[in-house]
């Protein structure tokens, strides 16, 4: 792979990396025919982010050396971010950025051609890996709202930077409401301030959702995409469904598109007093989720999903394409779970348990079969060859 980014696009690339760094610690780079894809997932697998830069974004773009298969790799986010650490400096001094994969040395070479003939070369070690794929389709979501990023930026402005989760919903009068979400406060002696922002329908370019629907997701992760969208002056769409199913945040322009897929809290997690404030409660036919997800063996779910992804033979297919038809998990062959390219969740980082279990829980909600493939987050199992 070899690609060359020139001029103002270097800063755009840098901003995208900053945005992705809000989500995960590893960056998956995959050169595709459609363009260069940069992806990441968080440690609890409750958030996935992806930017796809079209070939036109680059001055030169070569996905793979002719005759060879494209190399997919993952690198430490920290290392790649370090190249673009100071966006102000990048804007002022960098003229061109050349990224190439040197398979022999296992090095990703990022070379910044700067003013005055200065050249900075970063040799980042990478690991070959399989494609980080998430199967999701915005078209499957019942609800969508779209607004200029600026409007959404103003909408989250009253919330403290430290706020973890926020609830987004449609209130009476078709007003879009954002509300700070607080964890169960039974044990807390000092209650926290609750902030709510209400925006009229007129501020949205598209609002396809009925009153009463609401989802709760991680604001900090959302801010990663929002900051990028604001700086690029793009519109941001939010596609969502019932609580518990992941929400898809998307931006797009002629040269790039970005998707952040974030888990949302399920109804069993949301406290009813909070929900009632927004509007009448959700319809009764929403799927009740099993209570024991938190105790379920996540690993066995992952095995089922990875097999599912593999059935589609989708290794070479860009992850954002929609795979039609619901794929029931088939019985997996002997599978070595310990994919050496996939790090196990570090014991030191406690993932927000409800998010993690829910993200996968929505896949296996047995009470109803979703009309299309359930949103799945899976890495192709290397063992299936």
């Amino acid at each position: 792979m070899k690609c060359l980014v020139a001029g103002g696009n270097v800063k755009v690339l840098g901003k995208a990396v900053h945005s992705l760094s809000r989500i995960g610690d590893e960056l998956y780079l995959e050169p595709l025919e459609d363009g260069l894809s940069l992806r990441t997932v968080n440690s609890s697998r409750s958030a996935y982010a992806c930017f796809l830069f079209a070939p036109l974004f680059f001055q030169q773009y070569q996905a793979a050396t002719p005759g060879q298969e494209a190399l997919r790799c993952k690198i430490l986010m920290k290392s790649f971010l370090a190249v673009f650490r100071s966006l102000a400096t990048v804007e002022k001094t960098v003229e061109r950025c050349c990224i190439s994969l040197n398979g022999r040395n296992s090095r990703l070479v990022v070379q910044l051609h700067c003013r005055y003939g200065v050249r900075k070369t970063h040799n980042l070690s990478f690991q070959e890996c399989e494609s980080l794929q998430a199967v999701f389709d915005p078209a499957l979501c019942s609800h969508v709202l779209r607004a200029p990023a600026r409007v959404l930026g103003e909408a989250v402005q009253p919330f403290p930077p430290t706020l973890a989760e926020v609830t987004l919903g449609i209130g009476s009068g078709r007003r879009v409401i954002l509300r700070s979400y607080q964890e169960d406060e039974a044990d807390r002696t000092v209650k926290a301030m609750v902030t709510e922002m209400s925006i009229g329908e007129e501020d949205f370019q598209q609002l396809q959702a009925r009153e009463g629907v609401a989802i709760t997701f991680c604001l900090k992760e959302f801010r990663g995409l929002l900051t990028f969208a604001e700086s690029a002056n793009l519109s941001l769409s939010i596609h969502f469904d019932v609580p518990g199913r992941p929400a898809i945040f998307a931006i797009k322009d002629s040269l790039l598109d970005g998707h952040f897929v974030l888990a949302t809290m399920s109804e069993s997690d949301l406290r009813s007093p909070e929900r009632h404030r927004l509007a009448p409660p959700l319809q009764a036919d929403s799927t009740p989720h099993l209570d024991d997800f938190a105790n379920d063996d996540i690993d066995s779910y992952m095995i089922a999903m990875e097999t599912t992804a593999d059935i589609e033979g989708s290794r070479a297919v860009p992850s954002m394409s929609f795979s039609p038809g619901h794929q029931p998990p088939s019985s997996p062959g002997p599978y070595s779970e310990d994919n050496d390219t996939e790090p196990s969740i570090e014991p030191g980082t406690p993932p927000p348990k409800k998010f993690r279990s829910l993200f996968f829980g929505s896949v296996l909600a047995p009470a109803r079969s979703p009309p299309g493939p359930s949103p799945v987050l899976a890495e192709d199992s290397e063992g299936e060859g």
């Binding site: 402005q157 926290a192 301030m193 609750v194 902030t195 709510e196 209400s198 501020d203």
Partner: protein, 280 residues
């Protein structure tokens, strides 16, 4: 108990925001006292505060276009609420471009002061931000601890120098010593002193002027050169100075020798009294 008030004037809103920012810097938790004519922000002297106390008073009609309150009872027509000061200043921060601001006492599973802000927006659509600030209603039996402090008979009263200057000096002194001696005389001289084993640093302010004293006898007997001093915890003084973002309209310092220093400030129409006891 009921409380509803509204601010529509931008200047009043900004002023109220500045007051709340100041309170947030002076006290982490404070008591808001609501009475028919006034609002008070109170910090009572407790061991936890280091004995520091604060009394801030503003006339409600200088701020609010609408103001309705109903106290605990007819004879006790007041409301005392304890809240985290930062919550109020954070809530008001979003009111920078507000068309109107409403505050009311509500009960949303627990008592709250709800601040509701209607924002001006580029398009004609209205945007409304609501902040529910949790409060604790203080029962009547505890009101006696929250009364307006009596102004002590000061040995010396003096006008303060520019607070920003004082703050930058005290900030540097904080690195050298935990205690500071503040002393002044009736000749318009004020000194800030720190003493350690290795070094003594004194900053002298001159020609500050003394306000006319209330009791003439005491001041006439006193030698104008004689300093009245109090040794205080330097961090308390710094906290007080850090809260003064704008130089006040009037700033007086009253010293009761070896007992207490009392700062009496006036920010336009808002009065602030701050007491720092002598370090024992």
């Amino acid at each position: 108990m009921k409380f509803r008030a509204k601010i529509v004037d931008t200047a009043c809103l900004n002023h109220f925001t500045r007051v709340s920012n100041m309170i947030a810097k002076l006290a982490k938790t404070c008591t808001l006292r609501i009475s028919p004519d006034k609002l008070n922000f109170i910090l009572s002297d407790k061991v936890a505060n280091g004995g520091v106390s604060m009394w801030c008073e503003l006339e409600q009609e200088n701020f609010f276009s609408e103001f309705q309150m109903e106290g605990v009872s007819a004879e006790n027509n007041e409301i005392y609420l304890e809240l985290t000061s930062e919550n109020l200043s954070r809530a008001l921060k979003t009111a920078q471009n507000a068309r109107a601001l409403k505050i009311k006492l509500t009960n949303k599973h627990f008592p709250c002061l709800t601040v509701s802000i209607e924002l001006l927006s580029v398009s004609n659509s209205s945007r409304i931000v609501t902040h529910d600030i949790p409060v604790r209603v203080i029962p009547r039996k505890l009101w006696k601890d929250l009364r307006e402090p009596t102004v002590p008979d000061a040995d010396v009263s003096i006008y303060l120098p520019v607070l920003k200057t004082m703050k930058s000096i005290v900030e540097k002194m904080k690195n050298i010593s935990n205690h500071l001696i503040i002393e002044a005389n009736l000749n318009g001289e004020l000194n800030l002193k720190i003493e350690t084993e290795l070094v003594c640093v004194t900053t002298h302010f001159k020609d500050l002027g003394n306000p006319p004293s209330a009791s003439e006898d005491a001041s006439q007997d006193r030698n104008p050169e004689q300093m009245a001093e109090v040794r205080i915890d330097i961090r308390r003084l710094l906290q007080f100075l850090a809260g003064q973002q704008v130089n006040p309209t009037k700033a007086v310092c009253n010293i009761v020798s070896n007992k207490i220093v009392h700062f009496d400030l006036l920010h336009e129409d808002v009065s602030l009294q701050y007491f720092i006891p002598a370090f024992s």
